[in-house]
């Protein structure tokens, strides 16, 4: 018998706001000492009160728009009550009854080109808990993360394989980074995921009983955890046993699933309205204005790069991996004004290398699009050689100075004076009797070697074509 799995994902997306959800502590505490970024609100001191961070609402609405969700003009915060040492208020402030966004979808392109539309159930804002670390049997609590704003995005059960789930997450990560609402770094737990998995025989009209896998914190873990849970459930069904409704935890160190609790121990969170916070009220104008802030989506931009600029799909894919890289391309092209494929080549070969080597984002590079355009133009105009062009990219990045200024200061302008090149060629030929003899004996491929010597002598500045022509004349 064949089985089909049904998967729904609940993804927690950490928003990259300046401050926490309900207090004015910094939201980003990465690499900071434990409990160094806390206040009465996010440590649950008696008498402390939350205040809604407007930037959180703004970013949550952007995300809702990006997945075509309907935005509630009025949404509420609720308390989700449970006791844990890293949840200092004794409850989490979240949105239960009337969340910020309802419905919507995310289209996920699979490797085989098929597009899988994953429907969204809802998106709601909530605060993160602190972190618990076990150290030799001692439980250590760090509240730096307590109160960091999250959006939880809940899908409908529209996914059927671990690969589809992974593709969804990759797509979502790209989206949140692209629209600038989250850094989306799974290693820093800025994107985390719970998966609801159930399995039923193909063709049966009821879906199986679902289990929830908690705390999946990487794309790889999503694949492994869901795959092994599907296998486990199929195993149960094949053995004629019913699947029990469990909550399971993914242990990333052991790479295995661990049962947390069964349905009988399900928690009643006793949701009720957070009386200390006013409802989030958005006017139609506000909702519309924020929708207009949304940038062109990466998939749309990729398509545009293919059709408008005639770029190969491969180039368009790389250039639209990050929004600022694609902006960089378009701006460089605007300055340059000619062959977009040439801009693409320079970016993919040289700029992406620079970004990868330095770890600096395209938008933060000192070499700006106008500089890159200028360098390509200088090469086109035979002011510098392509080799010098590559070097100029590094030099502009180091100094921030315009490339033409650097070229002049450092005397990098291409040598295309025939007399000057002829002098250098003579010098090299007379210094290389062995190679000259070999060439004359018929080893014509040595011409390249001679040209290389000329380029070395001139530090790459010589017009290579001209040098080749002169050398050929002189050697023959």
């Amino acid at each position: 018998m064949d089985y089909i799995a049904t998967i729904g994902l609940e993804t927690h997306i950490q928003l990259n706001t300046k401050t926490k959800a309900f207090c004015s502590c910094k939201a980003d505490s990465w690499n900071e000492p434990p409990n160094s970024n806390i206040c009465p609100v996010c440590t649950g001191q008696p008498g402390a009160l939350p205040s809604t961070n407007a930037e959180m609402v703004h970013k949550a609405v952007l995300l809702c728009h990006a997945v075509h969700a309907e935005i509630n003009a009025v949404s509420f915060f609720d308390r989700k009550i449970y006791l844990y040492a890293d949840m200092p208020g004794g409850y989490q402030v979240t949105q239960n009854g009337q969340p910020i966004g309802v419905g919507g979808y995310l289209d996920v392109e699979m490797e085989d080109g098929r597009v899988n539309r994953v429907r969204i159930d809802n998106l709601h804002m909530e605060e993160d808990a602190g972190k618990t670390r076990n150290d030799n049997g001692i439980r250590l609590i760090d509240l730096n993360r307590s109160g960091v704003p999250l959006v939880e995005m809940v899908t409908k059960p529209d996914l059927h394989t671990a690969d589809e789930a992974a593709a969804y997450l990759i797509r979502l990560r790209r989206l949140v980074r692209w629209i600038g609402v989250s850094e989306g770094n799974m290693e820093k737990a800025q994107l985390r995921c719970d998966a609801n998995v159930s399995v039923a025989p193909v063709g049966s009209d009821t879906s199986g009983r679902k289990c929830e896998i908690k705390n999946i914190n990487s794309i790889d873990a999503v694949r492994r955890a869901i795959t092994s849970e599907i296998e486990r459930q199929i195993g149960e069904l094949k053995a004629g046993r019913a699947v029990d409704q469990w909550t399971i935890e993914w242990d990333n160190d052991a790479k295995e699933l661990r049962k947390m609790r069964s349905k009988e121990n399900a928690v009643d969170y006793r949701f009720f309205r957070e009386p200390n916070l006013m409802p989030v009220v958005l006017s139609p104008e506000q909702i519309r204005d924020w929708r207009e802030e949304l940038p062109e989506m990466p998939w749309a931009r990729k398509q545009r790069f293919i059709t408008d600029y005639g770029l190969p799909a491969y180039d368009a894919g790389i250039l639209t991996a990050e929004r600022d890289l694609s902006d960089y391309f378009e701006e460089t092209f605007r300055f340059y004004g000619e062959d977009p494929k040439k801009v693409s080549n320079w970016m993919m070969n040289e700029l992406v290398r620079l970004i990868n080597d330095s770890g600096i984002a395209a938008s933060a590079l000192k070499i700006r699009p106008k500089h890159l355009a200028k360098i390509i133009q200088m090469i086109d105009g035979e002011r510098v050689t392509p080799a010098v062009g590559k070097e100029l990219i590094n030099l502009v990045q180091e100094s921030g100075k315009p490339p033409s200024l650097i070229a002049e200061e450092r005397n990098l302008i291409m040598v295309s004076d025939e007399t000057a090149i002829r002098e250098i060629c003579e010098k090299i030929i007379s210094a290389s009797p062995k190679e000259t003899a070999a060439y004359r004996a018929g080893k014509e491929t040595l011409l390249g070697w001679f040209t290389g010597q000329v380029m070395r002598e001139t530090k790459g500045k010589a017009d290579a074509k001209l040098a080749g022509k002169i050398l050929k004349q002189m050697l023959e």
Partner: protein, 526 residues
């Protein structure tokens, strides 16, 4: 040292200090002597912060000596209910679980009092986390006594604050009111207590009981002092989301405005108690006739001062207030008390906890008092998912009905067009600790006339309106519409000014009285 200074109002004291007729340090010294004398009888305080008070008084004196401007409460000694966080000064909320806790920050009301140059002398006793109407539910015993009869309760939950102000232990006090916790003890102790509109005064730094109803307000000996304190306390605070961006008038000049034409309502639904029988039916139960008489007397005073009195204003949903309050306050309280786990602050259990949850359970078992545990359990029960509709949603509907009564009577285009509603503050005067000779039904419904305003979010002021034949203070209440503290202060000021509320019982006259008398046995004002 002239000990009479403690009997002046805050307004008068600040004036004398500003004009250098007395110093803040001298006044503080007189207050400390007064406290030394009466505190063994009142038990109003949990903590007395003499050192910090002396520093503040000296700082105020220094400012005055240097000719620097000082705040409107310059040098006025005041106390704060132990629900207000005070940085570095023990704050317990009347609970054992917070015993010894030194908050890392000041409540907004404390900050504002400090900016007004008032001098904090101590933290007053209260029912644990504000849960109670007698101040008996405190981990810190003996609890406050009624200044008029030490066999009787001071009221609660701000019982320590009301008893302190009545016995001149500090001139004014900060209280909180969730179902009547400022107004009821004020009525029982013969002082003035104002519960502002929900959102008028910041709750930042006030230990939460039921967040949708918690308010912060003054307890004073005169209406003018209440207005003065409201000038200091009222206003928007970005740290408390429910505070309104509503401009703050000068309540003292507002209070003195003409009363002619002011429409004052009286409702028969506030002159009886609606008792919920076990079969769900509601039966009327009479209140103390002397209290009804005091309400009528007050109405007469206002009428002769030029107000229009409208009797027979129906407030039909008042009867739902006590049961609905029971539900909502307990559900909110249960969740607000979740944070007291013995881990982050206060006193963790020393009873050998075996793990985290055991530590939580034992700390709560050891730290919370009986009444608080009862409320947590009922809150827990009523907030169950499958009971949500039965209790919480029904109570919320009752709350909306109660609010609609007030929207109707205060509607400027409606049938009643009231400016203020006049009610008793309580259905009975202060009762005995042993409950002997006191109507048990009225004791159970003691917050019947105060909790509706917490539901509706409206301001109410309780002021002394004479005494019973037993010599116990009676309080009457003026209720106003949202952010209309000015109007209730105006009505209360007239009732107080005319001096006919009760012969010789005007709190403003306290300053003229003989100082040799004990505050007990008889009224401190006689």
């Amino acid at each position: 040292m002239n000990r009479e200074f403690v009997r002046l109002t805050a307004f008068e004291q600040a004036q004398l200090i500003r004009t250098k007729q007395i110093s803040a340090s001298e006044l503080l010294k007189a207050s400390l002597v007064q406290m030394e004398q009466v505190e063994p009888l009142t038990h109003a305080f949990v903590t007395i912060c003499e050192k910090e008070a002396k520093e503040k008084a000296r700082a105020v004196d220094k400012k005055i000596a240097a000719g620097e401007p000082v705040g409107p409460l310059a040098g006025v000694p005041y106390s704060a209910k132990d629900l207000f966080c005070t940085r570095g000064i023990q704050t317990t909320g009347g609970s054992g679980i917070l015993s010894g806790w030194l908050p890392p920050y000041d409540a907004a009301a404390i900050e504002r009092m400090n900016q007004a140059d008032a001098v904090l002398i101590g933290k007053t006793n209260c029912d644990e986390f504000g849960m109670g109407g007698t101040n008996e539910n405190s981990a810190f015993q003996p609890c406050p006594r009624n200044p008029y009869d030490s066999e009787r309760v001071a009221g609660g939950s701000s019982g320590g604050s009301a008893a302190a102000v009545a016995t001149y232990e500090g001139t004014v006090s900060l209280g909180t009111d969730t179902g009547g916790s400022i107004r009821e003890p004020a009525a029982f102790c013969g002082v003035v207590g104002l519960k502002p509109t929900y959102g008028r005064v910041s709750r930042w730094g006030t230990l939460a009981f039921a967040s949708s109803m918690d308010t912060v307000g003054p307890i004073t000996r005169s209406v003018r002092d209440a207005a003065l304190m409201m000038n200091v306390l009222a206003g928007f605070d970005p740290r408390d989301n429910v505070t309104g961006r509503v401009s703050v008038p000068d309540y003292i000049s507002e209070m003195k405005k003409e009363i002619k034409g002011l429409r004052v309502g009286i409702s028969p639904d506030f002159l009886k108690v609606a008792v919920l029988a076990s079969d769900g039916s509601i039966e009327d139960h009479p209140i103390e006739p002397e209290i009804t008489a005091a309400v009528m007397r007050t109405a007469e005073i206002l009428r002769s001062a030029g107000a229009e009195v409208i009797t027979d204003v129906p407030m039909l949903n008042t009867k739902y207030s006590v049961p609905a309050y029971f539900v909502i306050s307990r559900i909110e309280a249960y969740s607000n008390l979740q944070r007291y786990d013995g881990l982050k602050y206060g006193r963790p259990s020393q009873n050998h906890p075996v793990d985290m949850y055991d530590l939580f359970a034992k700390s709560r078992e050891d730290g919370f008092g009986h009444e608080v545990k009862l409320r947590i359990l009922t809150g827990l029960f009523m907030s169950r998912k499958d009971f949500y509709e039965k209790y919480y949603l029904r109570a919320q509907r009752a709350r909306a009905l109660i609010r609609s009564d007030y929207d109707r009577i205060f509607d400027p285009m409606g049938d009643y067009r009231l400016d203020v509603l006049l009610t008793p503050s309580t259905p009975l005067p202060a009762f005995r600790f042993d409950r002997k000779g006191c109507d048990p039904v009225l004791i159970q419904y003691a917050d019947m006339f105060t909790s509706p305003m917490n539901f509706a979010g409206l301001p109410g002021i309780s002021l002394p309106a004479g005494k019973t034949s037993d010599g116990l203070p009676i309080g009457v209440q003026f209720v106003g519409y949202d952010y209309c503290e000015s109007k209730i202060l105006r009505a209360a000021y007239i009732a107080e000014q005319t001096g006919t509320v009760a012969e010789g019982d005007c709190p403003e006259r306290c300053s003229e009285l003989d100082m040799g008398q004990s505050p007990f046995g008889n009224s401190p004002c006689l």
